[in-house]
Symmetry: C2
Subunit: 132 residues, 2 copies
């Protein structure tokens, strides 16, 4: 698959590395050049510097040919907005959006966005551990 | 169970709320008073202001009678250090520690710490979604 990842923080870099290993074509977008250092020296994907809510930046990242888009910047609002732009304007089939705030995650999930909430995932894991 | 939670960010507050609902005795520790606002006006647990790596603060939070301790501040190092202090010095049975950095999470898990890594959980969830 051709996958565009927005955000090269810990999650973005880790995800990009595993997806490249799984033989996907990966492009990582980040507004901060220095963030790409997290990918390591042998990263076999593409890099684009720019803001992920900017349509020109997304085009440069090949969003028009992408099969999937994953928004994992550290800002919930950026992820939500980028996910909506990519789904509504570029019509990408698989759009996944990280939202830290459990309340907003529930609202946007109800509205049809495919969301991942690490806060809820972590708390669920802790509760499982406590009940063992 | 008597549970001490260190860190009243999104995860800490969300966890505290669910554990109180499950009838646990919960004490939440945070160095920033304002963080407790996340718990809402009806929170039926105890609050302690202070740094969670400070033994006096932990004693005030009832760590000596605690059945479990969960470290979920936004700083990996604080969580790791607090978890080790609580396990080694206070001998608390269940100690769970959130670590965002997957590399450090693996190292400390190997060393016997019970860890939760939201980065890995989130990436696993995204990969599952992409493979559907």
């Amino acid at each position: 698959m051709r996958i565009v990842i927005l955000g090269c923080g810990r999650a973005g870099a880790y995800l990009a590395g595993t997806l490249v290993t799984d033989d996907h074509q990966v492009t990582v977008v980040d507004k901060d050049n220095a963030a790409f250092a997290r990918l390591g020296p042998d990263f076999a994907g593409m890099l684009v510097v720019g803001k992920g809510i900017d349509e020109d930046v997304l085009r440069r990242a090949g969003i028009e040919q992408a099969d999937a888009f994953v928004a994992v910047t550290d800002d919930d609002n950026t992820n939500i907005m980028a996910a909506q732009v990519v789904r509504e304007i570029f019509g990408v089939q698989r759009v996944i959006c990280r939202i830290y705030d459990p309340l907003r995650e529930e609202i946007y999930r109800t509205m049809g966005l495919e969301t991942v909430c690490p806060t809820v995932l972590g708390v669920t894991k802790v509760r499982e551990a406590l009940s063992r």
